[in-house]
Symmetry: C2
Subunit: 227 residues, 2 copies
């Protein structure tokens, strides 16, 4: 499949590398390819500069947000939540229309210190904001409830016996994303939380995830739903 | 120990019955004992009238919010979140001062339909509101992340292999509540999320719990933290 991953941070890198390794024709979209490759300082997570990562992953094509979206049948929003709507506007409604968009971002607000708060919560969510801004896009919220390494390799904790969620208004889009999660990323347990308004729940859970990260001292934390 | 459980709903009944069964001198506090016992209609969860429950649990004493708080060394807030601050004001600051208060309530707002939203979230929580309103009380947020039956009997799902959280500013108060959870209610795994601001995380998680309840068709749902 032709897939666009919007966002050049650790989440975008991790998802793009995995999707390319699975054989998908993957393009990573960013605001300004030239500027991104010219950066020499470490990233915000102290990761290597993007150019060093890309030298190890030449199988991932690079393009602008618009070029990546135009390339793709399925688009992943892995931009930072604060910039997601702007990035998607740059990607262009015409390039996104009718496509499945997997929204893995969280609307985190770091302006109040750590742990971050949410720029939107409780009665709205980033997933819903994106769906309202792009009504022709088939938004599926997923994978936002964990650190990047676990998204594509759930076996790294608890023998893979834990859960990932999907939220969205389009059943076919959710089914397609669930297949990618199970057949592609190796998830054994996916729970459909409901329509796109249930993205609120998946995003608000991240407040607990952040506290668990702090209390347990590792971001390699996920939850198993026990019934 | 002398314990007050404030709140006459299913949560208050379940906690009071369990605490009395454990041998604690337990008083259930309510707004108006006479009016409560006079009710003949089913409760909001379609449960039996309170008087029928109390006939089966005469070991639980009844009193006003103030009488129960005055009676107790440890107080449990099991009132509905929307009424918690008012109930605690009725209990009286002098009757609460210096005591451990286990806050199991959630600030749910049912005015927008189902699932409920939160009257406070993201940058504040009910746990923090209570701690600010009663600075001499040692507030510990706990048990608000699950249905009443699981609070006192975690073995009912997943063989008891799942988690409960505590949040609070007073380490000794948290340690006391953790002992009650483990030695009293049978919890094997308790995670200390941090100070009372981490009550935000425990409360916001309830948005996900409500969606899981809807998606899985049962309230007997809890989470196991996997690392």
């Amino acid at each position: 499949m032709k897939i666009a991953v919007l966002g050049s941070g650790v989440v975008g890198q991790t998802l793009a590398a995995k999707l390319a390794a699975l054989g998908h024709d993957t393009m990573l979209g960013t605001r300004d390819v030239t500027a991104l490759l010219a950066r020499t300082e470490p990233g915000p997570m102290q990761q290597e500069p993007f150019s060093a990562w890309h030298q190890r992953h030449p199988e991932v094509a690079l393009g602008s947000f618009a070029e990546a979206a135009a390339h793709a049948d399925l688009v992943v929003n892995a931009t930072s939540g604060a910039g997601s709507l702007d990035a998607l506007r740059q990607a262009g409604e015409a390039n996104l229309d009718g496509k499945v968009l997997v929204d893995v971002a969280n609307p985190l607000d770091f302006s109040r210190g750590m742990p971050p708060t949410f720029s939107v919560a409780n009665t709205d969510s980033l997933g819903e904001q994106i769906q309202r801004a792009f009504p022709g896009v088939r938004v599926v919220k997923s994978l936002n409830t964990m650190t990047a390494a676990l998204m594509v390799d759930p076996g790294q904790v608890g023998g893979g016996d834990h859960h990932v969620f999907v939220s969205g208004d389009d059943p076919d889009a959710k089914a397609q994303v669930m297949r990618l999660l199970t057949d592609g990323f190796g998830w054994r347990q996916v729970i459909d939380l409901g329509d796109i308004t249930s993205a609120r729940a998946a995003e608000m859970y991240v407040a607990l995830w952040l506290r668990l990260f702090g209390a347990l001292g590792t971001p390699m934390v996920n939850l198993k739903v026990v019934t």
